[in-house]
């Protein structure tokens, strides 16, 4: 087996610098191993690398007959479906540029990206996306045909601009049947392709304004993917569940790029609501999730255990305590007393094993989290169960990886040393900068912004403030431009304060204010699942988020959390000045549809400051409540207004703890 693969590798004389070249190679070396799975009508369907090559080839040649040419941009919109992954490969085979777009983007955002990228053609998942594109078609003058995957509901549509995925594949198969050299020519095109071609254009989620098209080169993306696949020893025996947005660099890199170079199997869930069940059925070996997913899992486990019987609850508490004590040490191979090992082994039988099985994490060999800071407790909970959870730090501009933690050298408060072949440095003013193999070519059509994002000597500015810890791991403090100062001169990092608060399960989102102000004050979003469950257990009835958020007892709970936060902050001399003096619970959940969050669920600070200006003033002018009206956008694009009287509460601020003072003095 291994020898055969090596031979195949050796025979492939052209340099492996594009993903389509890997597609040909994998069909040869991994022929019958699964490349893709998708659950359809309740049964997992699988496609081997050979099948995958056939599917991609038919679609690719079909696209050729539709007139898709080298260098042309084509939009890909939808959830994680095999056909959309094949579309990306099929386009790359022709040298065309796939432009994946977030499937939940509202029609206007979608139209902006498609117009900016100048796409000629769009491949979309279903009727919903077709409707969005058609409703804005006059704003996307270049867009010609729309190819759709799922036919449901599209039967009556005018098909002058619409064609189904299968029809395109069929036309590809027909041209192969008509011309026996077509398939060979297609393969020749792939082998002749250059690593300088553009592999993909990924639009940033737009944390700081309009999204930008990040252009990634073919050879660069292959090189980066090979580096990290080797780093984590990924092979064709691994499998992943592809559930993250298709248009996000994380999904494209971790699942598509790493999948092609290492040959592992990409499993597509049935739909967004079935991910947890699909995860359990597939049991991936490589897993990535942002901290909020792990948080959601832990919240779910905690809630279920609250409702469990007494014996189960006792077992759970008992063995989780054992895991907390010894789990991480065992995972990292550090010395543990025999009694600890025995207790942990029992725990594995009674608690950890079944729990991991329920969560679908039984087979996980490598798991990563990134995107936000992760709470120490949360992080070590999963690690103590024996899950090799690590952190990485990355960016679209780097084609993901900038840093990643090595097995056995993992901490919650740092993101690891530079990833393989990444050149990392901290600038004089504290900004993290890097040069990496997967580094972007530039922003599409925005040379000025590209120049802004680079240093003169060719490093990419991340815009994050950070520093290297004693052991060489990078620690990220905050976005560089967000780090400010209170009027007292004390350092104020909004994200730092927000993260301490967000580690409470009852708090979902926090926005902190304080730069150029007298003190720090925060907006809080409660977690509807956690607080709702508490309300249910305490017979508190509520009809909506708004009602629950304004409940006096909820205010009491959150006040307790704010107090704990201040007690924690006062122990850190650097951050003690930024204790929360006043807070309010927002009357609505922050939502990407209203522009308050990015599509990757990050807070858009400046926009929120503008939108809720009145509330911010109320935080600082001493008033105890404030009446506000807020415009909201519903999922279908209609707008409405909600109004509420928001209560503002005060919190106790502590003096800097003496031991902290002492430490600072020493």
């Amino acid at each position: 087996m291994v020898r055969g693969r090596n031979q195949a590798l050796a025979e492939h004389k052209p340099k492996l610098d594009t993903f389509p070249k890997y597609l040909l190679l994998n069909a040869e070396r991994f022929g019958d191993l699964p490349a893709m799975r998708h659950k359809s009508f309740g049964i997992w369907q699988s496609w081997s690398w050979k099948d995958q090559l056939e599917e991609v080839r038919a679609f690719s040649i079909g696209l050729e007959t539709l007139g898709v040419k080298h260098g042309e941009r084509v939009a890909v919109v939808g959830a994680n479906r095999p056909r959309l992954y094949w579309t990306i490969a099929a386009l790359q085979c022709l040298g065309a540029v796939p432009v994946p777009v977030y499937a939940d983007a509202v029609a206007e955002e979608l139209a902006y990206v498609l117009d900016h990228a100048g796409v000629k053609l769009a491949v979309v998942q279903d009727q919903e996306q077709v409707d969005k594109l058609l409703s804005f078609s006059e704003k996307i003058p270049n867009l010609g045909m729309i190819i759709y995957d799922e036919t449901r509901g599209l039967g009556d549509y005018d098909h002058s601009r619409l064609v189904s995925f299968t029809d395109v594949q069929e036309s590809g198969r027909k041209s192969m049947a008509a011309d026996s050299s077509a398939a060979q020519q297609w393969e020749d095109t792939i082998l002749a392709a250059s690593g300088d071609d553009i592999s993909i254009m990924l639009y940033t989620s737009g944390t700081t304004g309009r999204s930008k098209g990040v252009v990634i080169g073919a050879a660069a993306s292959v090189e980066a993917a090979c580096d990290t696949a080797n780093f984590d020893h990924l092979t064709e025996r691994d499998s992943v569940l592809a559930y993250l947005p298709l248009a996000w660099v994380g999904d494209h890199y971790l699942n598509y790029a790493q999948g092609y170079v290492s040959g592992f199997c990409v499993n597509c869930p049935e739909g967004p609501e079935t991910v947890t069940q699909d995860l359990k059925e597939i049991g991936p070996t490589f897993y990535f999730a942002p901290p909020r997913v792990f948080e959601g899992l832990l919240t779910m486990v905690t809630i279920r255990m609250e409702d469990a019987g007494r014996v189960k609850k006792w077992l759970f508490d008992r063995f989780i305590a054992v895991a907390r004590k010894h789990g991480e040490a065992i995972l990292e191979g550090r010395p543990v007393p025999l009694s600890g090992r025995i207790a942990y082994a029992l725990g594995r039988v009674f608690v950890y094993g079944p729990l991991k099985n329920v969560l679908g994490l039984s087979k996980v060999r490598v798991a990563y989290t990134a995107g936000e800071a992760i709470g120490e407790d949360l992080f070590s909970f999963f690690r103590s169960l024996g899950i090799n959870l690590k952190q990485l730090y990355g960016q679209t501009e780097a084609f993901l990886y900038v840093t990643c933690q090595k097995d056995g050298a993992v901490r919650a408060d740092a993101v690891g040393p530079a990833a393989p072949n990444v050149d990392l440095r901290i600038s004089a003013d504290g900004e993290v900068q890097f040069r990496s193999p997967g580094m972007f070519k530039g922003y599409y059509l925005e040379d000025a912004k590209t120049a802004e994002a680079m240093t003169e000597d060719g490093y990419v500015k991340t815009g994050d403030a950070g520093f290297f810890d004693k052991d060489g791991q990078l620690r990220i403090i905050d976005r560089a431009k967000d780090v400010g100062r209170l009027n007292s001169g004390a350092l104020f990092s909004p994200k730092y304060v927000e993260n301490v608060l967000k580690f409470f399960p009852n708090i979902k989102e926090v926005v902190a204010f304080g730069d150029n102000r007298d003190f720090c004050a925060v907006f809080i979003n409660i977690d509807l699942q956690a607080v709702g469950n508490w309300a249910e257990r305490n017979n508190i009835s509520y009809a909506s988020y708004q009602e629950l958020a304004g409940h006096p007892l909820v205010y009491e709970i959150i006040a307790g959390h704010v107090d704990d936060t201040n007690r924690k902050l006062c122990k850190e001399p650097m951050m003690a000045g930024a204790q929360v003096k006043r807070f309010l619970i927002l009357h609505k959940e922050l939502d990407a549809d209203d522009g308050e969050l990015t599509r990757t669920q990050k807070v858009r600070r400046s926009y929120i400051a503008e939108r809720y200006g009145e509330l911010i003033e109320a935080l600082y002018d001493g008033s105890t409540d404030k009446y506000v009206e807020t415009e909201v956008t519903y999922e279908d694009g209609r707008k409405g207004k909600i109004h509420a009287t928001v209560r503002i509460a005060d919190a106790t601020v502590y003096d800097v703890a003496p031991e902290a003072m002492q430490e600072a003095a020493e």
Binding site: D32, G42, I43, Q45, S48, D51, G155, G271, T274, Q277
Partner: protein, 277 residues
Amino acid sequence: MNMQPDASQFTGARDDGIAKGEVLLDVRNVSLAFGGVKAITDVSFDILKGEIRAIIGPNGAGKTSMLNVINGFYTPQEGTITYRGVPRRAMRTTDAARQGVARTFQNIALFKGMSTLDNIMTGRITLQKRNLFWQALWKGPAEREEIQHRRAVEEIVDFLEIEHIRKTPVGRLPYGLQKRVELGRALAAEPSLLLLDEPMAGMNLEEKEDMSRFILDVNHQFGTTIALIEHDMGVVMDISDRIVVLDYGRKIGDGKPDEVAKNQDVIDAYLGVPHDE
């Protein structure tokens, strides 16, 4: 290799030999009484193949009784019912089910302890060909048949977008989803006439919108004829092709939504103008 399941025979609605637009069910001079209480008095109307026919009226107007007459639960004392061109008088509900009449109930009547899948599977019972002997023997024909039925159920699950609750016991589901499962069970029989008794009762706006969408899709995609009772006038006016209005067991209006909306008797019945009798 890629194992595609056998394409199923699921069509959504059975072929009843009636062309679209022709009379599928004809109710002629039907009267129904329970002892001295007259529930329905001399009502006549028809349901055309492929249409969505609403039956509306104030509380106690006889709507549910009418539905029960149509699916054979009640036998009217007077009048005739002609279904698929064949007149009938007394019959059992199982006969109606075999002839392709399926229904949902005002108060959800699912098997609470069973999963969504199993509940919908029960809707296929009248379509099962193998008898108890084969079912008990299991291996062979019965198993093959069940796989076919299961595939059909999966298509309904896909159609109604309830993949995530496939294996959840329905008793644990929120009300709106239970209603959807019940619709799924009715659809599993591949009915030619689908009776919906207040499919949107107790739902919030979003759930109502979803349910309306599903009803329209069923009608559109499978060509299923639908008779529905509903109190939400907005929904009724939007989705039905024709409406029958009952009041105190009598028919007081019949026609397209805009005609019915203009009918003075209907307006009076809804606004509560006192009756002469």
